[in-house]
Amino acid sequence: MYRDLKWKIPLILVVILGSVLLAYPLKEKISLGLDLQGGMHLLLEVKVEKAVEASLERLADDIKRDIFDDDLELDRIKASYEDRQVNVRMVDTLDLPPVKKILDDGYPFFSLAREDSDGLGLVYQLSADHVEQIEQNAVSQGLETIRNRVDQFGVSEPTIQVQGERRILVQLPGIKDPERAINLIGKTARLEFKLLDEEHSLEQALSGNVPEDSEILYQRVVDKETGAVTKEPLLIRKRTVLTGETLTGAEVRFDSDFNEPYVSLTFNSVGAMIFQQVTRENIKKRLAIVLDGNVYSAPVIQDEIPGGRAQITGRFNSAEARDLAIVLRAGALPAPVVILENRTVGPSLGKDSIEKGFTSIIYGSLLVVVFIIFYYKWSGVIAVTALFLNIVILAGALAYFGAALTLPGIAGIILTVGMAIDANVLVFERIREEVRIGKTVRAAIDAGFSKAFRTIVDANITTFIAAVVLFQFGTGPIKGFAITLCIGIAASMFTAVFVSRAIFDATMSQRKLDKLSI
C-alpha cells in the first residue's frame, strides 16, 4: 500500500543530508552581501574619449616626426578631437605627395578625408574601427590596472568586472577605509616628467600671456608648521620628456635626515637612457614631476643622473606614499574614470542589519510555528517539520549557487516562511473538506493532496515568474531577494507536498487512524 515510501524516504534523506553538507558550517559556506558584511560597491565609467584624444595626439606626434625625418617642411599639424581628424599643412605644394605616402604606408587606420583648396593642407580621418578598438582597449586595460591596484591594496575576494561597454564594477567587501580605496582605484596616475619653462616670465603667463608651448601647473605646498596648504603656480613646458610607462618599479623609502617618506622610481633601459640624456642636457634647470596634472616636485637638476633612478618627494604621509607607489607600480589608467554609483556600508551597520534580520526571522517563524501547531494539531507539526526542512534546503541551495545573502535576501527568506506554509494550508483545508463530506482518513488525505496539488502549482508558478524576472533585471541586493524567493518557492513545493505527504503516509502505515488530527 505504501510501497513508494521505500524510495521516497531515502530520497528525502539524501536531499536533507546534501543540503546540510552544502551549508555546513553556515559561516563559511554562505557569503554575505556587501550590505550585511560592510563594504564598497563602485560603478565606474571609463572616459574612453580621453583615450581616443590621447592616442590622436600621439599619432599626430608620430606623423610630425616622420615628416621631419623625410626632410619635408611642415607648416603645422593639428589633431582635432571632435572630428577625430588630423590636419597637416605643408609649406610647399610639392611636399604633399610624399606626406600622402607617409600616411598611406605607415598609418593604415587613417583615410584622407579632404584636401585644402590651396593645395597645402591634408585632412586625415581616424577610422571608426580604430576608434572603437582604442575605446575597448581603454576599458580592458583600465580593468586590468584597477585589478592590479586592488590586489596590491589587499582586499579579500574583490569583484572587478566590466559592465556594459565602458563601465567597470568594483566590489570590495569588508573594506575599512573607503576614502583610500577610492583614491587608489580612481587615480589615473599618469606620471610625466616635464621641464620648466625658465625663458618666459611666470608673472606674464599668470596675467594671461601664456607662451604657446607652455602651461601653468600647480604644486601643492604644505606648510610644516601650520599645516596650511597653498598652491604654487609653475610655468611648465607642454612637452613630456618621459612618462610613467617606462617605470619598472616604485617603492616607498624613508629620507635619512627627516625620516620622511618618498617614492623611489626605477626605469627600464629605455627610460633610463632618456632620463640620463635629459638630465645631462639640462643641468641647473628644473624638472617637474607631474602626476595627473599636479606638480609633485620640481627639483633643480644638479648633475647627470645615470642608472635610471629617480624619486618623488612631496610631503606626504607614509600611507599616501604607499598608495602612490601602488598606483605607479600598477601603471596608469589609459583613460580617466568617474564614479557613476557608490554604495558603501560600514561594518557596524552591516552587523546591525544581520542581527535585526535574524531577530525578525526568529520572531516571525516562532509566531507561525506556534499558530500552525495550535491550529492544525498533529498535522501542524508535520507542516512545521516541512517548513524547517524548507529552510535547510534553502540554505543548502544558497551555498550551492554561491549566492550572497543580503538584507532583502533575509526578507525573501521571511516571505518564504510565510508562503511555504501556504501549500500546507491549502492541502489541510482540502483534507478537512473531504473529511467533512464523510470520506475515510486515507481517502481524505489522498483527495486533499491531489486536489490541492494543481492549485499549489499554479499559484506558485506565477510567483516564481515574478521572482525570475526580478532576478534577471535586479541588481545587487535585489538579486539576493529574487534568488531566495525562487529557491524558497521551489523548495516549498518539495517539502510541503512531497515531504509532508510522505510523513502522512509513513504515520498511516504504522497504525490505522480512524480520526485525523487536523
Binding site: 550590505d35 560603478l43 573607503p178 576614502e179 577610492i182 574614470v337 568617474v338 564614479i339 557613476l340 554609483e341 557608490n342 554604495r343 558603501t344 556600508v345 560600514g346 557596524s348 551597520l349 546591525d352 542589519s353 535585526k356 534580520g357 525578525s360 520572531y363 516571525g364 509566531l367 507561525v368 500552525i372 495550535f374 491550529y375 538584507l407 532583502p408 526578507a411 521571511i414 516571505l415 510565510g418 508562503m419 506554509i421 501556504d422 494550508v425 483545508e429 478537512r432 473538506e433 492549485t455 499554479d458 499559484a459 508558478i461 506565477t462 510567483t463 515568474i465 515574478a466 525570475v468 524576472v469 526580478l470 534577471q472 533585471f473 535586479g474 535585489i478 531577494f481 529574487a482 524567493l485
Partner: protein
C-alpha cells in the same frame, strides 16, 4: 480549531457596489495624492543623488549639522533622524562624479562642531543621474515583463478572461499601495520595486487559488448561476485565504517591527500589499469574471 466555519456563506458578490466604490475611492485618493505631489517621490536610486548615514556617540542637534554642512556647499540637502536620535540621514540631491569620498568629506565638515571621533560614517550611497535613469528603465521593464509572463501563464492554464481579471486585481493592489506610499510621503527606491514584485506575486497567488476553485466548481455547477458558483468558491477558500494571509502577515510584521530602519519601508510596502491583495482576491478579482460572462 477553525477560524471560518465551514457553513460560512457570505454573499460577497452582493457587496460588489460597496467594495467597488471603496476601492475606486481609495485608488482615486492615491492617484490624486500622486498627482498633487507631482509624481512619485523617487529615492536616489531613480532620481540620482547622495545619501549619507552617520552615527553620533550622543544625539546631535540637527541645526548644528546643517550649519556644519553649509561650509562644503553640497547643494540642497535634507537632514533627518533615522531610527534613533543618534543616527542621522543626510540626503543630497546632487551626485558627484569626482573621485572623492563624500562620507569623509561630510564627516570632516562637522569636525569643528563635534568631536570627529564621535562620528562614524555608516553608509554612503551615491547614484549618478545616468545610473538613476538606467535603473528606472530596468524597474519599469521588469514589472512589465513579469506581468506579461504571468498573463501568458494564466491564459494558458485558465482562460484569457481569468488572466485579465487577475491583472486587474493586481493593478488594484499596486495602485492602492502606490497611493499609500504617496500619501505617507515615502520614497520609491529599488528595494521598494522588489517589494512591489513580491506583492504582484503574492496578489496573483491569492487570486489564483480562488480562480482555481471557481474553475473546478463551474464544471459541476448544475443549475447554479455563475454568481452563486463564484460566491460558493470564495466561501470555500475563505479560511485558506485568511490563514495564509495571516501567517504571511505575521512574518512581515516581525520584519516591520524588528527588521530595522533600512528595511522598514520595504516591509511597510509588503504589509499594505498583502492586506490589499487579500481583500482584492476576495472582493475584486472575481467581479470581472461575472462582468465578462454577463456580456456574452
Amino acid at each position: 480549531m477553525k477560524i471560518i466555519s465551514s457553513e460560512t456563506n457570505i454573499d460577497f458578490m452582493g457587496k460588489i457596489k460597496m467594495t467597488m466604490t471603496i476601492s475606486g475611492l481609495v485608488i482615486l485618493i492615491g492617484l490624486g495624492s500622486i498627482a498633487l505631489s507631482g509624481g512619485l517621490k523617487y529615492g536616489i536610486d531613480f532620481a540620482g543623488g547622495t545619501l549619507i548615514q552617520l552615527q553620533f556617540k550622543t544625539p546631535p542637534d540637527i541645526e548644528v549639522i546643517r550649519d556644519g554642512l553649509k561650509t562644503i556647499a553640497l547643494g540642497e540637502s535634507t537632514i533627518q533622524e533615522f531610527g534613533s536620535k543618534r543616527d542621522i540621514l543626510i540626503r543630497i540631491q546632487r551626485s558627484e562624479e569626482k573621485l572623492e569620498a563624500v562620507g569623509s568629506k561630510v564627516r570632516n565638515s562637522l569636525g569643528g562642531k563635534f568631536n570627529k571621533e564621535d562620528i562614524t560614517v555608516e553608509r554612503v550611497e551615491m547614484v549618478g543621474p545616468k545610473v538613476g535613469r538606467d535603473l528606472r528603465e530596468k524597474a519599469i521593464l521588469s514589472i512589465l515583463y513579469a506581468v506579461i509572463g504571468i498573463v501568458i501563464y494564466i491564459s494558458w492554464r485558465f482562460e484569457l478572461q481569468y488572466a485579465i481579471a487577475a491583472i486587474i486585481a493586481l493593478a488594484h493592489d499596486v495602485l492602492v499601495t502606490l497611493g499609500a506610499f504617496s500619501i505617507l510621503d515615502k520614497e520609491f527606491t529599488l528595494v521598494i520595486v522588489a517589494a512591489f514584485l513580491a506583492i504582484i506575486g503574492y496578489s496573483l497567488n491569492d487570486t489564483i487559488v480562488v480562480f482555481d476553485r471557481i474553475r473546478e466548481n463551474i464544471r459541476r455547477r448544475g443549475k447554479n448561476t455563475l454568481v452563486q458558483t463564484i460566491n460558493a468558491s470564495i466561501n470555500q477558500t475563505l479560511s485558506r485565504t485568511i490563514l495564509t494571509s495571516g501567517t504571511t502577515l505575521m512574518v512581515v510584521m516581525a520584519l516591520f517591527f524588528f527588521g530595522g530602519e533600512i528595511i522598514h519601508d520595504f516591509s511597510f510596502a509588503l504589509l499594505v500589499g498583502i492586506l490589499v491583495g487579500t481583500y482584492s482576491s476576495i472582493f475584486i478579482a472575481s467581479v470581472f469574471l461575472v462582468y465578462w460572462d454577463s456580456r456574452r
